[in-house]
Symmetry: C2
Subunit: 293 residues, 2 copies
DNA sequence: ACCTGAACACCGTTCAAGT
DNA sequence: ACCTGAACACCGTTCAAGT
C-alpha cells in the first residue's frame, strides 16, 4: 500500500539489495548508488552510533547534498534496511563440523560475531523485509545446513534457528549493557535504595539476588558494578536483555555461562525430540517435556 | 554521568517508578504527576502507535502545554521508560501449576499476553533500567517461582527466563508481522521475482521453501500470503522476528507450532540438565548435548 | 539525467517570563 | 511552585529550479 514496495509486493529495499531494481543511472553515472550510500551509513553508525546516521550526515560523508540521496533511496527507512544488509558479514567458505550440536554452536558463534562487530544491528527492525535480505538469507541457509541430516521438519528447523539467533542476540545485548564503557552506575548506595523497595516479602527470590550482590559488582574488586548504557548512540528499541528477565550475576563470565547454557538447553531439547521420535513414531505434533516436578 | 540518573546511580525512571523520588508537588497539587503522564502516553501508544507518542501529543491529551511535562519527567526517554512499566500488566494472584514444565508454559503465556496486548512494548529499549522497573521485576519473580524446587543455580534460572521471554517476544513479533492488517504484500509474482535470485544453487534449502510456497500463502485459500508491516506506528528497533532466521510457513498455525516447539525444547533441555545432574554429580560446568549426528 | 536551494512541517528541549 | 510563550537547533521530505 505504501510506496516502499515494488510491483510484486517486494519491499523496495529487498528488491534493491538483490539488484532487482532497474538502476536509475544510464547517463554519466559519476554519481551515487544505493550501495555506496548504504556503506557510508555503515561507516557513520560504526563511528558515531546509529542515532548519528542522518540523511544530512550520510550525504556529507559522501560529499553530496542531503537531497541528492533521494534519487537513490526512497526514504531513510529504506537506507537503514540497506545498511542492515551491508553490515551483516557472514563468512563464505565456512565448513561446518560433522556433529550437529557442534554445528549449531558454530553457527551461533557466527551470529554472535556479527552482532558483536556491529551492535547497532540489534537496534534495527527485524521484520519480513529484513529477513528477505541477501545476507540474512545466507545466514539462515547456513543455519539450516547445521541440521541437514536430522529428523526434523522444515518448520522445526526454522523455529530452531529463530530460537538460537534470538538467544545469541539477547546475550550480546546483555554483555553490551554490562560493558562499563564510560558510565558510572549503580553504587552500593543505589543498590541499598533499591533494596528498601524490593523487599524480601514481595520479591523473595529477587531480593536475595539483590542483597547478596548477585545483581551488582563483579565478584570482588571493582565496586562500581555495571552499567545501563543508554548514551547518545542508539535511538530506541533495543531488543535485548530479556523482556521480563533480570540479569543475575553481572560479570562477563556469567554472561558466557548463560550463553552456553542456552545453547546447551536447546541442543539437549533437540536431542530429546529426535530420540522420542526415533523411539516411538507416533503422531507428529508437539509433545511436552516429561515433567519432573 | 548523564543527568538521567539519581545519586545512587539508579536511573531516574527507576527511582520514579518505585516512588523513591521526592515528588515535586507540595503546594496545591492540582497539576500533574509522572503517573498520569505515563498513562496518557500509554493511551496514545495504544490508540495511534508508539511513533505518535510525542511530548506535544501527551501534553495535549492531558490539556497542558508541552513544556509543562518537563516539570515531572526529565526527558522523553524517561517518559518512555515510565510508560513501559505502566503498560506491563502482570496478573496478581496467579497460582502456578504443580508441574514445573506447566508452570513455565503458564508463565510464558502471561508474558505472551502482555506483549500481545501492547505490541509497542517490544519497540522499547530493554536495558538495565527496564529490567529494574517494578512490573518487570514482578514478572521475573513469577518466572523464578516456576522453578522453585528444581536443582538449578540462580544464574541458570535467570538464564532460562531470559531465554523463554525472548522466545515468546520473538514469536509475538512474528505473528504481528503476519497479521494482514491493512497492507497487501508479496504476491505470487513478487515471490517469483525473489525466486529468480534465491536460486537452488546458492540457497538449496531456502529455495525449496520459497518455491514450494512454504514462504507464502496460508495452506490453500487466500493467495495473498503475509505482510511485512512497517507502517507509521513504530519508530524503529523492533527486536523481533529472528536476527538471522527466516519465517517458514506463514500462517498462524505455524507460528503456534513454533511457539510450542520452542517451549518444548527449552523444557526438555532443562529436563536433561537436571537428569544428568541427578545421575552423576560431577563438576557443575556446561555439558553439551550428547550429539546424535 | 542528475544535483541543488529553499522551504515545510515537525521534533525535543531550554529559558525567561508570567501568576 | 507551577505553568506558559517564544525560540533554538535539529529532523525527514518535497518541489521547483538549475545545468
Amino acid at each position: 500500500m505504501g510506496d516502499d514496495t515494488t510491483e510484486g509486493g517486494l519491499p523496495r529495499a529487498v528488491a534493491a539489495a538483490w539488484g532487482l531494481l532497474q538502476t536509475p543511472q544510464r547517463g554519466p553515472a559519476r554519481g551515487l548508488d544505493h550501495q555506496r550510500i548504504a556503506e557510508a551509513g555503515v561507516v557513520i553508525a560504526d563511528r558515531d552510533g546509529l542515532a548519528a546516521v542522518t540523511m544530512a550526515a550520510v550525504a556529507r560523508e559522501l560529499g553530496f547534498t542531503t537531497m541528492s540521496l533521494y534519487r537513490y533511496v526512497g526514504s531513510k527507512d529504506e537506507l537503514l534496511r540497506l545498511m542492515q544488509n551491508a553490515a551483516v558479514q557472514i563468512p563464505d567458505g565456512l565448513v561446518l563440523p560433522a556433529s550437529w550440536p557442534e554445528g549449531i554452536r558454530t553457527w551461533a558463534e557466527v551470529v554472535r560475531r556479527a552482532y558483536r562487530a556491529r551492535p547497532w544491528l540489534m537496534d534495527l527492525p527485524r521484520d519480513q523485509a529484513a529477513v528477505l535480505m541477501p545476507n540474512t538469507l545466507r545466514a539462515a541457509e547456513l543455519g539450516l545446513a547445521t541440521m541437514d541430516g536430522l529428523d526434523l521438519e522444515d518448520g522445526e528447523k526454522i523455529g530452531i534457528i529463530l530460537l538460537v539467533s534470538q538467544h545469541v542476540m539477547s546475550l550480546v545485548e546483555l554483555e553490551r549493557s554490562l560493558a562499563v564503557e564510560g558510565g558510572v552506575s549503580m553504587t552500593p548506595e543505589g543498590l541499598e535504595r533499591l533494596g528498601t523497595v524490593v523487599t524480601a516479602e514481595r520479591f523473595p527470590r529477587l531480593a536475595a539476588l539483590i542483597s547478596t550482590g548477585g545483581f551488582a559488582d563483579p565478584p570482588p574488586a571493582d565496586p562500581v558494578g555495571d552499567d545501563g548504557e543508554h548514551g547518545d548512540d542508539s535511538e530506541h528499541g533495543v531488543g535485548g536483555a530479556g523482556g521480563a528477565g533480570g540479569a543475575g550475576g553481572q560479570d562477563p563470565a556469567d554472561v558466557e555461562m548463560e550463553y552456553t547454557l542456552g545453547l546447551d538447553l536447546i541442543t539437549a531439547g533437540i536431542d530429546a525430540l529426535i530420540a522420542r521420535r526415533a523411539a516411538g513414531p507416533t503422531a507428529s505434533g508437539s509433545a511436552g517435556a516429561s515433567g519432573t516436578g
